[in-house]
Symmetry: C2
Subunit: 408 residues, 2 copies
């Protein structure tokens, strides 16, 4: 099937020197690449981004992880601990509009590439840092991964079954959730720089970023004065049924569908009653509004379950959704990969990489009808010669010399 | 304590006509407001954004929800179903740089404010739509809320305990997760418009947006050929211990701490062994590397639990984190509100609203050291006179006339 992605040019001409690794940083710079920036990963010549090696062995041996977060980028290798390597990266930074790093606390400064040093080279640069914890936090020197951020940023405390231990949201908002907030900030700073010419220092902590995604829980805290607990499949508000998942045929682990009736629109309950063949319940006094259904919750759930159990989740989603009631089947990665319109609409695309094909999501926003097109993640050092030529005017012979000297 | 937020001016001068409601749309336009845009909510004169009324009653009766997602915005009232109201909103759109809506499918078009109509008024506008499902999806006419997007976008399928039903991540990435991707796109389109002068049509579906946040799960699917299941507190990768939450003193519902040792850095296990008083385990052949610990998982978990159970989660986080091992206590909204550096760093601020004070997170990225400052969410119609004057040159008398005619 033809894919509909386009090469977006929103950030055309923007040069990004990308020191990021794993996911929190790379998800940010990948979105810049999808929007048209030239993103050049600076990788160490031996192993590259450790995200290339989640199953240890040779470089580029685990395409699925690295390739998800580094599509559409370039890669060059550079030994930042050699004087010549450092000199070269400083020349690159001089030409750059943006630089992003998410190394362990203190590492970039020890390399001689901290904010003050880089600002001196290039006062117009947008200098961005993603760390686990914020400057001024008691944990500012601590290491973090997605799950550490989700534990300490509050998302785990509100995820799981009531009375059971916390669960980590399967979505990586510790990483990608943070990366997206930095992307918003980078582009805003670039927007402003059009008129001011002035650079910016941007910093985000993964722990801090989590709070942005649990504001419903802060609302509940304000309402009750207590930290909200875990609520299974239900939202922070809870609310009377239907507002939960219901089991569907044939009863597999993901054979469930979410059904919800908004208190804002009393029609939704009437529609639901009709579509599940129980029109007499539409105006039944026990069920007619939110308050009544709250006192008959078990019966309401039983009535809906009796119907959903005789249908597949796809049938439930289609039939109830078409009736004008909010409904969503619990779809897993297999269901999503098998849904033909995801590929037709370009939301899932195939990355054609020398090491294999990967079906992966792209940035899901459509620009004039089309999302960005996925290009392969780079091989380690694939663009060293090209970028050194384009950005610094080096000849191929210069680059060969650097290779002989162990600089790249 | 003095708060350190600043009035950010990145998007200064940008005018946003904001038709959004609830959270997915408002979270997007709120981030634009935090970055300095002038965001004007267009609300119906009777009840306003339904997000004002999550506990039905009078307008503005549930500040905690509405105020989280509408800080720093302006509000004007306008009856879009009256000819004069429609005429006025068209005049506002003519002056605007951006417009965003997330009404039910088809609603904005029925109002006469669809993309083609607005583009004709203002060819340079960035016209943005957030819907539950994408154009071309079989569900494109269906309604959605956060939980419907999370069910049908895959995040619930990978959240919960192994072998148990799916759980909804407590973070609202169906809503705010989608809003952030639209914000990235709006600002990119504005950036490009600096040079081209051309508007853009931007569309995002909440279901599609979820895929961006579960790319680790798509990676696991590519690796195994199967949809990954639920994994409790562990990440999509799983991996040998420690890579989970461990129980802490005194055993309350959120008295847990995440402890993780990266395969990338074998030192972390050695540091952990030392800090929990078991230095002899650092080089013990049963535990020395990931592969060995995988075959002794129960023993490793028991050793770590024996130590964490004798400490509070805050002690565990501090002691293990300072030893250079990734560690995060499970903090809930109460812990986060009580952590003094969140307020000192401006990540949590107090919104001073006529209806009460709300402690809430701001946009967590620091610009030159400071995050944006929170200003109160608007009262319904608070800025009608001001915006009509500033944008359209109307006099107070004109505005009074509109009120008498029931237009505002």
């Amino acid at each position: 099937m033809a894919e509909i992605g386009v090469e977006l040019d929103c950030l055309e001409g923007i040069k990004v020197v990308d020191f990021t690794q794993f996911e929190a940083g790379p998800s940010c710079t990948e979105s810049l690449a999808w929007l048209g920036a030239e993103v050049v990963k600076i990788e160490n010549p031996t192993t590259g981004d450790p995200g290339r090696r989640l199953r240890p062995g040779q470089p580029d041996n685990d395409p699925w992880y690295f390739h998800q977060f580094n599509a559409n980028k370039k890669s060059l290798t550079l030994n930042l601990k050699s004087p010549r390597g450092l000199e070269i990266v400083r020349s690159l930074l001089k030409k750059a509009d943006v630089t992003v790093e998410n190394m362990a606390p203190g590492t970039i400064e020890r390399l001689g590439l901290g904010y003050d040093a880089v600002k001196e080279i290039n006062p117009g640069i947008i200098y961005c840092q993603v760390k686990g914890f914020g400057e001024g936090s008691p944990y500012e020197k601590s290491l973090a991964f997605d799950m550490i951020a989700q534990a300490s940023g509050g998302t785990m405390s509100v995820t799981g079954e009531k009375g059971q231990p916390p669960v980590k949201p399967g979505c990586t908002i510790g990483d990608t959730g943070t990366g997206m907030l930095m992307a918003i900030s980078v582009i805003s700073a670039l927007f402003q720089r059009h008129t001011t010419g002035t650079g910016r220092r941007l910093q985000v902590a993964m722990q801090d970023a989590q709070l942005n995604y649990i504001r419903g829980s802060f609302m509940m805290h304000a309402r009750t004065g207590q930290p909200p607990g875990r609520n299974g499949a239900r939202s922070a508000f809870g609310g009377p049924p239907p507002a939960d998942i219901y089991p569907c045929k044939p009863g597999g682990p993901n054979d469930w569908a979410y059904v919800f009736c908004s208190h804002n629109n009393p029609e939704q309950w009437r529609r639901l009653a009709a579509v599940i063949g129980r029109p007499e319940l539409a105006d039944a006094p026990e069920y007619v509004d939110h308050a009544k259904r709250a006192t008959h919750a078990a019966e309401v759930d039983a009535i809906i379950t009796a119907w959903t159990q005789t249908h597949t989740k796809h049938e439930v989603m289609r039939i109830i959704g078409e009736a004008g009631v909010p409904c969503g089947a619990v779809l897993d990665t297999g269901d999503l990969l098998a849904e033909p319109t995801f590929q037709a609409r370009g939301i899932i695309q195939t990355q054609h990489h020398p090491s294999g094909e990967l079906h992966m999501p792209t940035f899901p926003v459509r620009f004039d009808g089309k999302p960005p097109k996925i290009a392969p993640a780079p091989l380690l050092g694939e663009h060293t010669t090209q970028v050194f030529g384009d950005w610094l005017g080096m000849s191929e012979r210069d680059v060969s010399g650097l290779k002989e000297d162990g600089v790249i």
